[in-house]
């Protein structure tokens, strides 16, 4: 599907001006300067098509959370319209800060090489103040920490060889966060999949999914990376391996933003790009695999639905898996935006709104007295940990901790 057709020509004319989208927009609720999805999307698109001068820089305030699209009864692709308008009409070009925040993989490879040094310096107030003044990266932010060994390096050294021993196999798109910041999450996935009888492979070539490039208007680079990823995914699918992920945002970007915003066709493989929790849940539900859990695992866990998970509609898979763990006391948080939206909340001009948007969610989390918050998105994790002090884990890591590996292996022999 061509991006022009999808966003501009077809869908904005479906708008019946009911303003329901504006009710559910987290930015319109927190920042009176933002025109809101109805106006920024379908209303102004009509004018922009006549004259691009109607483009307005306040569109940069949109988080691209797509909550407006989920709420719209007329199926208007409001978020896509706004994002495409930003890419097409904005005269503001990315600056050094945008390059730094958006190139998560380049930054990641530099940082992992010097991890202890970088982690220590990102915590220093002086460094934070310099970043604030020179780069307008807000000094209140807790910066993500970097791991000293990348996931890919660990995988090649410790895991790759034995993956050939399995009859069934999948590919894993680990994403930048697992590779540079939190390899444990990837290791956890390998542990689970191996226990239930699946071998894990990496893609021939994996590039950052490009979500941050898109939101920072580096469209050409995003498109190049998207093509590399989709080609690798095609080869994997041809070899009979679906592609699993552990980040809702990478998943959503590769499935939906590639065709809708970047115009990169993925129709032949889209259904094969799935979140690992969905893949595992379906296998358990269909009786193809069985899970056994440790008896001593006890935790009170609340699940937070990331915006892109809401859009995918897939939180049911992650939460169903968590509910299967006998020692888990499960709670569902209200589906609200946490306010970070990837690199958005790192920018100084957005920081206060970012925190204001997340406030109701933080309040609910603090009131529940849980051991852990579970969520499928890494930037939600940073935001919630920084703002509530509660530890946040990916459902895959929770599952891996609670799993009785030996028993599970026996069940799936």
């Amino acid at each position: 599907m061509n991006n022009e057709q999808h966003t501009n020509k077809q869908s904005f004319e479906q708008c019946v001006k009911c303003t329901i989208c504006t009710v559910y927009c987290p930015v319109a609720a927190a920042n009176p300067d933002y025109p809101g999805p109805k106006q920024a999307g379908p209303d102004l698109e009509r004018y922009r098509l006549k004259n691009p001068r109607f483009y307005d820089d306040t569109l940069d305030l949109c988080l691209n959370c797509k909550r407006c699209e989920v709420a719209c009864p007329s199926n208007v692709k409001i978020g896509d319209i706004i994002l495409s308008a930003r890419l097409k009409y904005s005269a503001k070009r990315p600056k050094l800060r945008e390059y730094i925040l958006a190139n998560t993989d380049v930054m990641g490879s530099m940082a992992t090489t010097f991890a202890p040094l970088v982690n220590a310096s990102l915590k220093l107030p002086a460094v934070k103040n310099i970043m604030d003044r020179t780069l307008a990266i807000d000094h209140h932010r807790t910066m993500p920490t970097y791991s000293s060994q990348r996931f890919e390096a660990w995988f090649k050294q410790h895991a790759q060889a034995k993956q050939e021993n399995f009859d069934r196999s999948v590919s894993y798109f680990h994403g930048c966060y697992v590779n540079y910041n939190h390899p444990k999450q990837g290791k956890d996935l390998v542990k689970i999949l191996n226990a239930i009888g699946y071998g894990v492979h990496l893609l021939d070539k994996e590039k950052c999914c490009g979500v941050a490039l898109i939101s920072n208007k580096m469209e050409a680079q995003a498109r190049r990376q998207a093509k590399v990823n989709i080609n690798s995914i095609r080869r994997s699918v041809a070899a009979g391996r679906p592609v699993l992920t552990t980040s809702s945002t990478c998943t959503f970007t590769m499935r939906d933003e590639y065709p809708h915003v970047l115009g990169v066709d993925n129709a032949d493989v889209r259904e094969q790009i799935v979140l690992a929790t969905k893949f595992i849940f379906e296998a358990v539900d269909a009786g193809r695999v069985k899970l056994a859990f440790r008896e001593d695992y006890r935790k009170r866990i609340a699940y937070h639905t990331p915006c892109h998970m809401e859009k995918l509609g897939w939180s049911i898979y992650s939460t169903s898996l968590l509910r299967m763990i006998p020692g888990v006391e499960f709670m569902m948080l209200d589906s609200l935006c946490c306010g970070i939206a990837g690199t958005y909340g790192f920018k100084r001009e957005n920081y206060p709104y970012s925190q204001k948007i997340g406030e109701p969610l933080f309040r609910q989390i603090k009131s529940l007295g849980v051991d852990l918050v579970a969520t499928d998105c890494e930037t939600c994790k940073w935001q919630i940990e920084m703002s509530t002090g509660v530890t946040v884990e990916n459902p895959i890591s929770i599952l891996a901790d609670a799993l009785d590996v030996e028993q599970t292996m026996k069940l799936n022999k």
Partner: protein, 397 residues
């Protein structure tokens, strides 16, 4: 709304339920009142006279009365307090100041029991400056026609001035987001200073978006009795009701999937076996029973192309005329035939496919054929009562 009412009633009776909804519902246009049948006096008497194709005829007057009497308690469990009686309509006040018959009205709204006897002699009407979805002048002249004197009190607050930067966003919902805490307190002070010697203060429904706390608070802080009057959409109390219903459904163990569209289903031997949705691709959702609550044309529960009217998910049998020329009446104000189009059902509200009744698929609410909600003023009544009925039917199966 039909989907949530069915889901809550069934989940409360111990059924495991999943709701898949493509988007928000007609509740976002909610006037504050539910209508059973829009007539003077006793709606049940009017209902006794509807045609046999009408959903009400399938329920029967006795059952309608019994179910209707359960409705206030059903909503009361969620702290939505509704006032009214199925055997005698009262009146609600529209945003244009007109009185319309109603069955149940939310407690916070202004309500008139008897047209010939207005409950007030003098009222103050709040006018939020810059807010165009509520026209105090219309309301004032509506009051004057019925012998009620009114004064309009203009209200401006700095928090709301900021919203005016963007006139199209000066909507009820955005105002309600601002009117909490200290801002609400200052609003109450302004009302108290300006209202003077009146019997009541009338105020547009711009308070209490996520819960009713702000409504209660404002009523406490305003010295005179405070009543709300509906605005043009979006409806703040409607959205609050939607959120409350969804919460209740989830608390009862129901799973609610918003923003997904049911696309197709597999019918085997007169039963619907499973359905598929846009978000879940090849995953098949199976269930013992399915309820179709997809609404009418507006929400795409039924669709009209240039040559036919159809039900888009399963291609169910439809009650509609094949002749396009018979869809409309030239006079816009006449009852429009297309408004009565909808899916065909048997006396138990089960749908049919190619002439064969599906034993486990029911239809409820606006997707049903045989009634004209706008002309008859029966939309909410049909939606709520058919939903409760089908939920009870499934539970007892």
């Amino acid at each position: 709304m039909s989907g949530l009412v069915t889901g809550i009633a069934a989940a409360d009776a111990g059924q495991r339920c999943l709701i898949i909804s493509a988007g928000q519902s007609a509740l976002h246009f909610f006037s504050g009142s539910f209508e059973l049948y829009g007539c003077e006096g006793n709606p049940l008497e009017a209902i006794a006279g509807v045609g046999k194709e009408h959903p009400y005829s399938k329920l029967g007057v006795e059952r309608i009365q019994r179910l209707a009497e359960e409705v206030p308690a059903f909503f009361g469990k969620m702290n939505i307090s509704l006032v009214g009686n199925p055997t005698r309509n009262h009146y609600r006040i529209t945003p244009l100041g007109v009185l319309k018959p109603a069955w149940l009205t939310m407690d916070e709204y202004a309500r008139v029991e008897d047209v010939s006897q207005m409950p007030w002699k003098r009222v103050a009407i709040c006018d939020i400056e810059g807010f165009l979805d509520f026209q105090p002048d219309f309301l004032a002249s509506g009051c004057a026609e019925r012998g009620v004197e009114s004064t309009v009190i203009p209200i401006s607050l700095p928090e709301l001035e900021r919203l005016r930067n963007n006139p199209t966003e000066m909507r009820a919902t955005n105002i309600a987001k601002e009117l909490t805490g200290d801002t609400l307190h200052r609003l109450a002070q302004k009302i108290n200073q300006a209202s003077g010697d009146v019997d009541a203060v009338l105020m547009p429904t711009v308070v209490g978006l996520l819960d009713a706390a702000a409504v209660e608070e404002l009523k406490k802080q305003v010295d005179k009795p405070l009543h709300f009057v509906a605005t043009m959409p979006p409806s703040v109390p409607g959205i609050r009701t939607q959120i409350t219903l969804r919460k209740r459904f989830q608390e009862l163990g129901g799973v609610y999937m918003l923003g997904d569209t049911v696309q197709s289903g597999t019918i085997v031997d007169g039963r619907l076996q499973s359905i598929r949705t846009a978000n879940h691709g090849e995953v098949e959702f199976e269930a013992d029973n399915f309820v179709l609550a997809t609404g009418s044309f507006f929400s795409h529960g039924i669709v009209a192309s240039s040559e036919r009217v159809y039900e888009p998910i399963l291609g169910l049998d439809i009650d509609a005329s094949d002749e396009r020329s018979e869809w409309y009446k030239r006079n816009l104000f006449e009852a429009q035939p297309y408004m009565t189009f909808g899916v065909a059902t048997d006396s138990d509200f089960r749908v049919s496919h190619k002439g064969q009744t599906l034993s486990n698929v029911y239809a409820v609410g606006a997707v049903l054929s045989g009634c004209n909600p706008i002309k008859e003023g029966c939309g909410a009544g049909v939606a709520i009562l058919t939903s409760l009925h089908v939920a009870q039917k499934i539970t007892r199966k």
